[in-house]
Symmetry: D3
Subunit: 139 residues, 6 copies
């Protein structure tokens, strides 16, 4: 019988080369003094870590069309729809850090509740596209 693998992580103390450089960049960019567990797991494949981190940076940190808080709200919404508790915790922290209070966060949850329900009704009914757009433009 073969030996069995414990899927592990790359700790900061043993990180070398490309992984060490990315770890330093993560800490500096996020302004934290530790490496999140997610990235320590991803580091088992350094190319995957590098290109994922670069892509996150390019979309989330660079000046774009949407402001930082709107981006974090989208990330929170996606995390809730995927049912990922680790991710929900992080992006709840993020939008709170951005200044949203508990009423605003509850408003986000309420909107997700409403549209999760309505989406499912339209999937059930296989609702056909309306003949005219709702918003004065060809939606």
């Amino acid at each position: 019988m073969p030996e069995c693998t414990t899927t592990d992580v790359i700790e900061e103390s043993t990180a070398e080369g490309k992984v060490r450089m990315i770890y330093d960049d993560i800490k500096q960019t996020l302004g934290i003094d530790f490496i999140p567990n997610m990235y320590k797991a991803m580091a088992l494949n350094p190319d995957y870590l590098e290109l994922t981190w670069k892509r996150v940076q390019a979309i989330m940190s660079k000046e774009g069309k949407l402001d930082k808080n709107t981006k974090d709200i989208i990330a929170l919404t996606v995390s809730i729809m995927s049912g990922c508790n680790y991710c929900i915790d992080i992006y709840n922290g993020a939008v709170s850090h951005n200044g949203l209070d508990e009423e605003a966060i509850t408003e986000i949850y309420a909107i997700i509740d409403i549209y999760s329900g309505l989406n499912r009704f339209n999937i059930a009914r296989q609702t056909k596209k309306d003949e005219k757009p709702w918003f004065g433009c060809g939606s």
Copy 2:
């Protein structure tokens, strides 16, 4: 063998009583001259239509903590995560009507792509909560 039912809708021309009143409110509130297919289907159960519409109004139209465009972006994100084409079309129209151009909408899609992927990685790894929060607060 029993007769079979075609699940149908309540057309404007035959709407009466509570349904007619809600139809009028929908047209006035949304500023359109037709009833969306979704609400015409829902009208088969007038209480369901009434309380759903009231709830949508209370969260989406009333002054709250989030601005209208942020709310529509959340609705669009939920619709994409649910895979509801009817809903995606409507909220693409909404955020476009709110002023987002194609670059901004592509940015929304890019964020959804990134976090759908990372969510799944963390579900795969069953990533444990980090010992310290990312954002200087107990996320």
Copy 3:
């Protein structure tokens, strides 16, 4: 750096006005002497709580076309498909309270297993609608 928000709940002891009235209605309607955690969280947005509770009542408690146990079975099935443990616990309790024994509940799970699998096969195959209906009516 901004202060961070802990998303909180409205306890019974501090509930006032509209929230207190709904809390009383929840306890009376469900025949329990406490407020479920779900509603205590929702109370941070009193309009959301009120209209959600009214809608739940209108569909689940009012005389309709389906009996109470069938409604609870649908709620249980939806909760299992969404992967919401809190909700699964509640509706397992409900259908058990309605009189279903463990064999009947296992039968529900078996049906969900079968159709989750077959659904996925048909999504994989993108199966086309059959030329004739299965049940003697234009399904």
Copy 4:
């Protein structure tokens, strides 16, 4: 470059041996004079077809704890949650054939809408189990 495969189906006219026997059983059991597209696709792996069909029969057709219409309602609910249009059509036809009219079917959709929404709220909040059960029993 290798030839490419078109994933195909086993038509009735070419079915032989085990597949032919199952096809005959499907038509007789369902009381139809054709083989649904789903089973014609599955027949490419005769063991898979046989054991799936047997399992469907054992749960859906045999006398159990739940009546036929309740079973079909569960199958419809699962199909809606999975977003499988082929399956939604079939089980809409089934519950209609069982005698549910359009109001009853809309009631099913309303319940699915409500709980899809509430499930998502509880996933967002990671709601903790209530200290006491809702239904007088340890749910």
Copy 5:
């Protein structure tokens, strides 16, 4: 008020008849000296247990077109997409037992991350089928 049911399992020590025979087959086939919790729960409906186990055997254990490790990788991928921790643990164990090391398992996760993201982008965009196939055959 009715008594409430605790959904339970059939322990090995009380298994009889058909359930006992299947339990013995499970232990022998998997080469283990205990019955997994999943099958002990399923045994509350012996027909369901029997036909599920037969179907699993027919697809996973019999000589087919795909090798054992590829089959286990598919089962792991499905488990991650469904968000089932119990199942993820089992199939992580399986592919590790088959000889995949932590780098290979991370590669699986990376592929799931990438395609979960791209899938969502294409759902968002409702991307139309390309006019020509990518792989030199009519996909």
Copy 6:
């Protein structure tokens, strides 16, 4: 009322700079003479296109632990679980191009069917981790 945006794509004939270079790389790497619709849509955000394409290349095209066909099978499985028809078509084409015939592809579908079902059963039951591993290693 604002003008409305039609979310568009960057055609090959108008691609410039970074987008043109990536388009050329896509065609050469995939061995095709057109740009898939997915990438033409992504090109509205050139950084997103570039880093997504690089990441896809790093995981799917570079020598790794898993062979090309296994990677494509994972991509197909993810696409089926996400319900993305565009993606299912592409990866059905890919595994067919790799040499899988219709029996082998049906075997993939059968495994997905089985585990989608069993996953849901374990989510329904909230099955606890077995005390001992199934495969002789601490899964």
